[in-house]
């Protein structure tokens, strides 16, 4: 199955729903090692995206994803705004010249998005950030999707993200607000890695 504008829109709406549903949980995770706003931030952003989707028509995947990125950058703020925003901007850019998006194209877009995010946030593996969910997810996607099966790739990515998310719990944060806690940040699951897992689970459910 190829990825098209309709599919992407479904994914984004599913993600918005999932964020809405988990907003309080994300905020509680952020309260423990941050400033208690990650759920509110993501919810505000994805509500803006939903409104934008209601009001717009997109011809191409890259136009859609770039607009999503801009919308997030302009509505979220905090750390997650530029990070999620950059992700979608770069993922969109990566698809600019692609008309038929297959599993490999989509994987490349995800990777480009994550690279942009890392360039912006300078996170490394083990820093206890959303990158700790993304990194294993990208690897799993490539492995499972090597033969072009998008559904398998996304399912594997989502499962790997969830494992990566769980592994953030014992980590001592080195980036973002949680890093201020030093050793006390250990023992808490990272909110950004948690929302990232929701993003990939929504993708597996709606694009897979």
């Amino acid at each position: 199955m190829a990825v098209d504008v309709r599919g992407l829109t479904g994914w984004l709406r599913a993600f918005a729903d999932s964020i809405s549903e988990h907003a309080a949980e994300l905020t509680q995770l952020d309260a423990a090692i941050g400033d208690a706003d990650h759920g509110t931030n993501m919810k505000r952003g994805m509500q803006a995206v939903t409104t934008m989707l209601d009001d717009s028509e997109f011809e191409t995947a890259d136009a859609l994803l770039k607009k999503v990125g801009m919308t997030l950058v302009s509505s979220v703020g905090g750390a997650s705004g530029p990070l999620y925003g950059t992700f979608f901007l770069r993922a969109g850019t990566a698809l600019a010249d692609t008309t038929e998006i297959d599993a490999a194209d989509f994987g490349a877009a995800l990777r480009a998005g994550v690279e942009g995010m890392v360039a912006r946030g300078k996170a490394e593996l083990g820093d206890k950030t959303l990158y700790d969910a993304w990194a294993p997810a990208l690897t799993a996607y490539d492995d499972a999707g090597a033969d072009g099966d998008l559904g398998a790739a996304l399912a594997a990515a989502a499962a790997a993200a969830a494992r990566g998310r769980d592994e953030t719990t014992p980590m001592v944060a080195r980036k973002g607000r949680a890093s201020y806690l030093g050793e006390r940040s250990a023992g808490h699951q990272d909110p950004g890695a948690t929302s990232t897992t929701l993003l990939l689970e929504s993708a597996a459910a709606s694009l897979g």
């Binding site: 905020t27 509680q28 706003d37 302009s74 703020g77 905090g78 530029p82 980036k175 607000r177 806690l181």
Partner: protein, 334 residues
């Protein structure tokens, strides 16, 4: 959650309406972009000073807009950095032809959003933009491999001092250098007796028993480095002042601007008691208090607690500190 608010989602919008209603003589508010502007911005020929950050720290930053301090402040959601669109709009709005300085507190979100704004402003061409990041909180270990220290109390002193320099007509590069110098010469440390409650979260960010305090707390209710039993003001002062003194370090013969700040829920009577303890400790260390500031200037919603900021001050910094300022939050000489 007990607060004098309406819908938690409207807190920032309505606070800006209140600032506008109360201070029409000095500021105007762009409600769409959530920017508090100096009434007469842009001031031609003057470097424009912009700051901004999450809301919940009032009077910072909107209350520091006016003659001799900021030209504009961008208000984010509570504890959430504003977005690049706001900073770009503000940059345009304060550009009087001499360039614009962004004053950014060192938080990942603030830094990234201001960075994106600066990149976009550069692409947009026209306005020369420099940025300075404040990172004075000694509660957080400074390291290349982490997000580094947080920007806290020094930001207030910096906005005042650098605002005075900009008012004198100094060029952008010089103003930015001065800002870095102020940041480099200042250190802070804070503590909390109670947590704050983010309106949209609806419950306290952290739980603190009746007998504990949080040392090294951030201004967003980020838990601190250490939880300790509550202690007398004298001991709290030492827990804050000692690491600050050691960090820069400050010593015998140094002169400082001493700033005891309330976190929002602590009344002035306690801040004065703290200031007395702080000034005693400084005297013991041979440090002279050239100027002082006592009050709730960089708050964390209704959190009870305080922070201590020391800024090593030479004659120039003191002179700029003394220069006229006319903002809702700080005013003298005019």
């Amino acid at each position: 959650m007990k607060k004098l608010i309406n819908d938690p989602a409207d807190v920032v919008k309505e606070a800006l309406l209140g600032i506008e209603a109360a201070h029409r003589d000095r500021v105007r508010v762009d409600h769409e972009n959530r920017i508090v502007y100096r009434a007469d911005a842009p001031v031609q020929g003057k470097v424009g000073l912009i700051s901004g950050g999450g809301s919940g720290h009032e009077p910072m930053h909107g209350g520091f807009v006016g003659l001799g301090m900021l030209d504009a402040a961008c208000a984010g959601e509570v504890f959430t950095s504003p977005v690049p669109d706001q900073m770009m709009a503000a940059t345009k709005g304060v550009d009087g032809g001499a360039g614009v300085l962004h004053i950014v507190k060192n938080y990942t979100g603030d830094v990234m959003n201001f960075e994106m704004a600066a990149e976009m402003a550069a692409a947009d061409a026209g306005t020369e933009v420099l940025s300075v990041v404040t990172d004075d909180d000694v509660a957080v270990q400074d390291s290349l491999y982490t997000a580094g220290r947080r920007g806290v109390g020094v930001t207030v002193l910096l906005e005042k001092i650098v605002g005075a320099a900009a008012e004198e007509g100094r060029p952008l590069a010089e103003v930015a250098d001065l800002a870095r110098r102020v940041n480099d010469h200042g250190r802070s440390m804070g503590m909390a007796l109670t947590s704050c409650t983010v309106p949209s979260a609806g419950k306290p960010t952290f739980d603190l028993s009746e007998t504990d305090m949080e040392l090294g707390v951030g201004i967003h209710g980020e838990p601190g480095r250490q939880r300790l039993p509550v202690a007398p003001a004298k001991d709290v002062a030492a827990l804050l002042v000692d690491p600050v003194l050691q960090d820069l370090p400050y010593g015998q013969g140094d002169s400082v601007i001493a700033f005891v700040n309330g976190m929002g829920g602590t009344p002035l009577i306690e801040l004065y008691i703290m200031f007395h303890e702080v000034s005693q400790l400084l005297e013991k260390a041979g440090v002279t208090v050239a100027r002082s500031l006592v009050g709730s200037y960089i708050t964390s919603l209704e959190m009870a607690g305080c922070s201590v900021t020391l800024l090593k001050a030479d004659d120039e910094l003191v002179r700029l500190w003394d220069a006229p300022v006319n903002t809702p939050g700080l005013r003298w000489g005019v």
